[in-house]
Structure formats: structure tokens, C-alpha cells
């Protein structure tokens, strides 16, 4: 009985598929190719096993000269100036789009002589390396760089990575929703200090490290390229994204530029809209515990400035500074931010009798910085949302940007993740 049913189901499926093909829903994607791009198309289609059909009009995909628009997620850069754009979103067309941006697609274009076989990278650690293309196996012990890999569309190439903010159950669950393979990719991930033998077992063709990591010399000695990152300012974060984009191929490079354009758009929008504001609210950023505050040289202070606030600790040097509540009272911040990591919590501040003497605490202006997985206040791609969120917190609708819509846009555009309404609500609540 069971077997009979499944036979009927299979027959029905075949019949439907046949009808679909007959009605013009082709199983192979149909591509419209702009003049002079035949060679690019021939290289790509020749390496794509399911096959591709060239059509003059009514195509699912268009191959044309152009640059990626940061607002649109429907195109990939197959070479620095050639775009493959999805017009009709069928599974077959999406699969070909995915292939064109993948290392396999990149390899086909390299074999055809249309992309270089290696690129020269100057990293933020003073290295200059010749990196063979395409990069197919990434090992990212540097947790912040892991998220850059995701934002640049390189998650498929991540063999093992460290994930900041994914140790707590909520963070791990969210990361698993973004990438179902997260548990495998984070398994065996060593702390920031690893060794060449372990790296060799992963056979990576690129290792992403924090700048000045003590273990990189032996890794480079066995011929594994290392890129070092140091993204503790808005400018350095842009550079970090650009460097990684360059390393991962034309589509990643285009995505890096798209992210930078979006970052600049947000910073510009907030700067322009708040330029006429007479007083910039004073913001205190506390991390790991409530009397440990971010210095003026840290990324957190840069985010506060970008969001149209004044960091009350902007004059402090070094890294985290330990202060007491009296010191905080003399700064008298309008808003106290709490890092979404460490022992700090909003409750610890609000319930503390001494802290209750502060205006901000009495006014309820104590907020935890949001995080989906990566903390928004750290130099990761997600930090662009911290600017939106904080600007809206400080200046209401003045900036014209809303946390809800920008969050939905960001995760779809850069993590290819359709974030749920509940997740957005949890992130943007104040």
C-alpha cells in the first residue's frame, strides 16, 4: 500500500515536471549575454555541469558590464566589472548565480585567463603576500574576521572558525539559523592561539589572524598564507573588509565595496541629519563590568561619535578603564550603554543604590547594546547597525533610519539571512 502511494506520487511529480518544462519553466537557467562578454559566459557555462541556455530576451539571468549596487542583493560580480544579475528567481537560476560567485566559477574564469591566478595583498599587520586564487578553505581563529567572511559571501569556504558571541545558547541558536553548518565549523575551533600542526591538519589555503598573533611565523613557514587584521576604527574596519574582499575574489570584493557603501551611507545620513543638533547627548559605554568603561581610542567611542553622541570617556586613553561611580557622576552621561558580553548587565546598574543617584539611571536610560550573534559594538560588519540603533535612540526619527528596517535589510543583504520579525523586535527594543 505504502509502495503504491509513493509510486503514484513519483508519477505525479514526473508529470508535473514535464508540464512545467512544456510550459516554459526550463530546468536549465536561461541567460542573456551582453555583447563582448561571450568569453566570460563560455568559461562559466562550460564549467557548469547542469548546463545553461543563452536567450535573447525573457532571460532568468543577465550577464552585463556593471558594478554591484549595495542596495540590491540579486547580482554577483563574476569579474571586477562584469555582473551576473538574477531577473527571475527560479531555483535553477539561483544555483547558477551561486556557482558564478563560487570558487568553482572563479576557477573557470582563471583557467580561461579572464581572472588573475593570484592577487597581491597588503594586510594590516605589515605583510605583503601573493595569494593564489581562488581561496577555497579558510581557517579563521580570529572571531571578528569570521563575520567578515560571512558578510562577503564566503561562509561556504570556512572550514573552521571562532565565533564571538556564539557561546551563549541564544547566540549559538541564532548562528545556527544563519548557517546550519555553524556547529561543525565552530567545533574544534581553538582559541586565538593555535599552532602550525593543527593548522596543517585543516589544509587551509588562507588563515585569518588578529594582528600580531604570536603563532603566525610557523604557519607561514609551512607555506600557508596568513592575513592579519586590526579593525579598531571605522577607517580600519573599511580597510579590513576591502583586504578580505580582495583575497576572496571579485564577488567578495564587490560585496566589500557594497558593505562600505552602506556603512558610508549610514554614517553620512546620521552625520548630515544631526549636524544641526545643538547638544550631542553624552554616552557612557561600559563593558565586561559596570565600572569598566571604553576609552576614546576604542571602536565603541567611534560608534558613539558616528551616531551623533558624545562619548563622555573620549579623553581616556588605552583600552578599558576602571573607574568608580563618583567619576561617572561627574561625567553625568545622558545614556549608559552596556556591552552584550562579560559580567555587565542593565540590571546590575539599575539595581545598584549608588548608580541610582545618576540622572541617566533614574531616567531609565540604561541600554544593552544589541547582538544577534556578533556584538554590534565590536568591529564587525554588523556594527553598522549599532550606529543606526544608537542614532535612533539618541535622536529619534531625525536620521530617517529605523533600526527595524535597516536590520532586516542588513541581514538579508550581507548574511543572506531572512531575519524574523521576532528577532528584529528583540534587537531593536529599547
Amino acid at each position: 500500500m505504502q509502495g503504491c502511494r509513493s509510486l503514484v506520487r513519483s508519477l505525479a511529480f514526473i508529470a508535473l515536471a514535464g508540464c512545467a518544462t512544456g510550459l516554459g519553466w526550463a530546468a536549465t537557467p536561461r541567460v542573456q549575454v551582453e555583447a563582448d562578454l561571450e568569453a566570460v559566459f563560455a568559461a562559466l557555462s562550460g564549467a557548469y555541469a547542469p548546463g545553461v541556455e543563452v536567450v535573447a530576451e525573457g532571460a532568468d539571468l543577465v550577464l552585463a558590464v556593471g558594478a554591484v549596487d549595495w542596495r540590491e542583493a540579486n547580482a554577483v560580480a563574476v569579474t571586477p566589472d562584469t555582473l551576473l544579475t538574477l531577473v527571475i528567481d527560479t531555483p535553477e537560476a539561483a544555483a547558477f548565480l551561486h556557482f558564478a560567485a563560487s570558487p568553482a566559477g572563479q576557477r573557470a574564469l582563471i583557467d580561461a585567463g579572464l581572472l588573475p591566478g593570484s592577487v597581491t595583498i597588503s594586510d594590516q599587520d605589515g605583510r605583503t603576500i601573493d595569494l593564489a586564487q581562488p581561496v577555497e578553505r579558510i581557517f579563521s581563529p580570529y572571531a571578528l574576521a569570521t563575520y567578515m567572511v560571512y558578510a562577503l559571501g564566503g561562509a561556504d569556504r570556512l572550514v573552521v572558525g571562532n565565533y564571538l558571541g556564539a557561546r551563549d545558547p541564544e547566540g549559538a541558536a541564532a548562528m545556527t539559523r544563519i548557517d546550519p553548518l555553524f556547529p561543525e565549523r565552530s567545533r574544534n575551533a581553538p582559541e586565538d592561539t593555535t599552532n602550525a600542526e593543527f593548522v596543517a591538519t585543516l589544509t587551509p589555503d588562507l588563515v585569518l589572524a588578529s594582528s600580531n598573533s604570536p603563532w603566525t611565523d610557523p604557519v607561514e613557514a609551512i607555506g600557508v598564507p596568513v592575513i592579519g587584521f586590526e579593525g579598531e576604527s571605522t577607517e580600519r574596519l573599511r580597510d579590513a573588509m576591502r583586504i578580505l574582499g580582495q583575497a576572496l575574489g571579485p564577488d567578495a570584493a564587490a560585496r566589500a565595496e557594497a558593505w562600505i557603501a552602506y556603512y558610508d551611507f549610514v554614517l553620512e545620513a546620521v552625520a548630515t541629519s544631526t549636524s544641526g543638533v545643538a547638544t550631542r547627548p553624552g554616552v557612557l559605554f561600559t563593558g565586561t563590568n559596570r565600572t569598566r568603561v571604553a576609552s576614546g581610542t576604542m571602536y565603541q567611542s567611534a560608534l558613539i561619535r558616528a551616531a551623533g553622541g558624545t562619548s563622555v570617556t573620549a579623553h581616556l586613553g588605552g583600552s578599558w578603564n576602571d573607574v568608580d561611580v563618583e567619576q561617572v557622576a561627574t561625567w553625568n552621561p545622558d545614556l549608559i550603554l552596556v556591552a552584550p558580553y562579560g559580567q555587565a548587565s542593565v540590571a546590575a546598574i539599575v539595581e545598584d543604590r549608588e548608580w541610582q543617584l545618576l540622572d541617566a539611571v533614574r531616567a531609565g536610560a540604561v541600554l544593552r547594546v544589541p547582538k544577534l550573534v556578533a556584538p554590534w559594538d565590536t568591529p564587525v560588519p554588523d556594527s553598522v547597525l549599532a550606529v543606526v540603533w544608537l542614532a535612533e535612540t539618541l535622536h529619534g526619527e531625525l536620521t530617517g533610519l529605523s533600526c527595524e528596517s535597516e536590520t532586516a535589510f542588513f541581514y538579508q543583504r550581507f548574511y543572506d539571512y531572512a531575519i524574523s520579525a521576532e528577532e528584529i523586535a528583540a534587537l531593536c527594543q529599547r
Binding site: T194, T201, S210, N212, T216, P218, A221, I222
Partner: protein
């Protein structure tokens, strides 16, 4: 001259090798041979161990490949490079650092006639730690870190030495005190730097360095370490009988026709150079300079003629074993200072329980 037993009072050194009439002497002699041979045997064994599995034959072929290129024809390139460019310099560094720290521990314990000191006594490790942390904070690379650690290690000892010259009485006590003071001063400076460091990347790097580890060792780290440790150890081996004289006290040394102050200065300079270079490559690796001299005394007694070579051998083997465990078992490395402490402390307690050990 009658043979001194191992129960000799602190400071008194055995000057006789007449042990063959003691019970268990054959067993002890065998242990001495095993101890002296251990670095060479363990060195070869360590080359075959690692997180990345490489067969013994492939390791041997890789080792031969610089001389006979065809030998490694069938060995995967990554395995060959791991053996030649990662394991070999690291095994050498572990052997040299272990030997250097242990032998300088013996030298310091002899000079200061104090069994509870090691070569960090005059502030060399604290100074080196500060130098390394400073370079990490301003963002220098691994070579800069090594140079700064070496330079600040020497600076700290020089300061302690100059400070001790302020007082003419009881020079050894004042030198010890100055060493402790200068060491504390540099330790405070290091704490200040750690406080200023970025907790996301710089602070873990500084902390890891201060706990010691050979994770970052490559061929670049080896030449200076090799030269200074070999020259220093050769010097200690050549003058080791003078340590016997020195450890009897200044009055006896002078009576025997030696200028104890000049000899001490030469030994301290040599020991400081060896320690500084060891710390500059491996970070602050504690306990080796304290535990190994005592372990060596258990085997060969307090006579420096035998103690110096045995400390060299045991120190090399001890650190190599610990480093091999550290790099072979886990994808993240456990800092060596942690492991030497975890293994060294129980070892020292066990040694202290043993009867018949003198210093």
C-alpha cells in the same frame, strides 16, 4: 679524601666521585647515562610527534631531504615543511631553552648559595617580560619582541647590579635585594601595560607571552639562542669546578686563591645572557631553573662537576617533553609556564620528600 655523602650541608660540595661502593650505585650510574642521553633520544622522538600525523619514515626522509633531495620525493610537501620548518626549530628551541634555564638555575643557586633561587633572581625575566609587552602594545612583530625582551632583560640586571654598588657591605645580600626590587619594578610596569592593552587582541598576546610558549618559534628565533646557549653552557662546563669553590663561601674561595667577586660577575653575566635569550624566545617559562637543578642533584649529588652537565641534559629533556605534550595534544596550545608549574610543583614536592638529597 673521604667521599662526602649526599647529606652534606648546604653549600658544601662533594669533590669526590667515589660512589661505586654505595649500595645501588650501578642503578644510579645507569640513570646518569640515561639522563645524559635523554635529550638526544627525546629530540628524535619529538620530531615524530605532533598534532599532524606524519609517519616515522616520512619524518626521517624529510630530515634527509636537505642533503639528499630525492629522499623526500614521496613525502607530502606540507609534511616535509612541518618537520623541517616547524618541528625542527621548535625541538631545538625547547632543548636549548630548557638546558639554558636549568644550567643557569644551577649557577645562580651555586653563586648565591641558596637552593631557592633561579636565574630570574636579578630581574632578567621581569625585564624581558616588560620589553616584550611594550613591543606588543605598540604593535611590533615577532623579531622586535625578541630583541626588546633580550635588551630589557639585560637592562634590568644591569640596573640591579649598579644599584648594588651603592652599598659596599654585604654585596651578595644587596645584589639579591636589588634584583628583587628591580624585578618588582618591571613587573609593575608590565602590569601597567597589560592594563592599557586592548583586551581583544593585545592583552591575550601579552598574557600568553608572559606564561611562556614556543608556538611562534621558527628558524628566525634559533640562531642567537643557539649561539648564546652553546657558548654560555660551554663556559659553565669549563668553570664548573669553580662553582664548587664558590659555593663554599667567599672566605674559603679567597683562601683557595680565587677572586670570588670577579668570578661571580663573569658567571652572572654569562647566566644573564643565556637566560635573557631563552626568555626572549620562549617567554617567561617558570620552574625549570628551580626544579631541574634539584632533580639533577638527586641523580648525581651536589658536585658541580657532574651537576652542570646533568642539569643541561635534564633541563633540555624536561622542557622538550612538556612542549611536545603542549603542541601534540590540543589544537590550542597550553602555555608552557602553566604546564611546567603543574608538573614542576608536584615534582619538586616529591623530590623534597626524598631522603639523601643535599644541596
Amino acid at each position: 679524601m673521604p667521599a662526602l655523602t649526599d647529606d652534606a650541608a648546604p653549600g658544601a660540595a662533594s669533590v669526590s666521585h667515589g660512589r661505586s661502593d654505595e649500595p645501588g650505585a650501578a642503578w644510579r650510574d645507569a640513570l646518569v647515562v640515561v639522563g645524559l642521553a635523554s635529550p638526544f633520544v627525546l629530540g628524535v622522538v619529538a620530531l615524530t610527534l605532533g598534532f599532524y600525523q606524519i609517519g616515522v619514515l616520512d619524518v626521517m626522509r624529510s630530515l634527509l631531504s636537505p642533503l639528499v633531495p630525492e629522499a623526500a620525493a614521496e613525502v607530502p610537501e606540507i609534511a616535509r615543511r612541518l618537520v623541517l620548518d616547524v618541528r625542527l626549530p621548535r625541538v631545538l628551541a625547547a632543548l636549548l631553552i630548557g638546558a639554558g634555564l636549568a644550567v643557569t638555575g644551577v649557577v645562580f643557586q651555586g653563586i648565591f648559595t641558596n637552593p631557592l633561587v633561579d636565574s630570574g633572581l636579578l630581574g632578567v625575566t621581569a625585564g624581558a617580560g616588560f620589553g616584550a609587552a611594550l613591543v606588543m602594545l605598540i604593535g611590533g612583530g615577532s623579531v622586535m619582541i625578541q630583541v626588546a625582551a633580550f635588551a630589557f632583560g639585560l637592562l634590568a640586571v644591569t640596573l640591579a647590579f649598579l644599584g648594588s654598588r651603592l652599598y659596599r657591605t654585604a654585596p651578595t645580600i644587596v645584589l639579591t635585594l636589588m634584583g628583587i626590587l628591580i624585578g618588582s619594578f618591571f613587573a609593575s610596569l608590565t602590569s601597567l601595560l597589560k592594563y592599557l592593552a586592548d583586551p581583544l587582541d593585545t592583552l591575550p598576546a601579552i598574557t600568553f607571552w608572559l606564561l611562556g610558549g614556543l608556538t611562534g618559534v621558527s628558524w628566525r628565533s634559533v640562531p642567537l639562542l643557539l649561539v648564546l646557549t652553546v657558548i654560555g653552557s660551554a663556559f659553565f662546563l669549563l668553570v664548573r669546578w669553580r662553582l664548587n669553590v664558590l659555593s663554599m663561601g667567599d672566605a674559603e674561595a679567597t683562601a683557595l686563591g680565587m677572586n670570588p667577586q670577579r668570578m661571580k660577575v663573569m658567571l652572572i653575566v654569562a647566566a644573564t645572557l643565556v637566560t635573557a635569550v631563552a626568555v626572549s624566545v620562549g617567554g617567561v617559562i617558570g620552574w625549570v631553573g628551580l626544579v631541574i637543578p634539584h632533580a639533577a642533584r638527586m641523580l648525581v649529588g651536589p658536585d658541580h662537576l657532574r651537576l652542570v652537565p646533568m642539569s643541561l641534559a635534564l633541563g633540555a629533556s624536561f622542557l622538550l617533553t612538556i612542549d611536545t605534550v603542549s603542541r601534540s595534544l590540543l589544537p590550542s596550545e597550553v602555555p608552557l609556564g602553566v604546564l611546567t608549574g603543574l608538573i614542576g610543583v608536584p615534582l619538586l614536592i616529591a623530590l623534597l620528600r626524598r631522603q639523601g638529597t643535599g644541596w
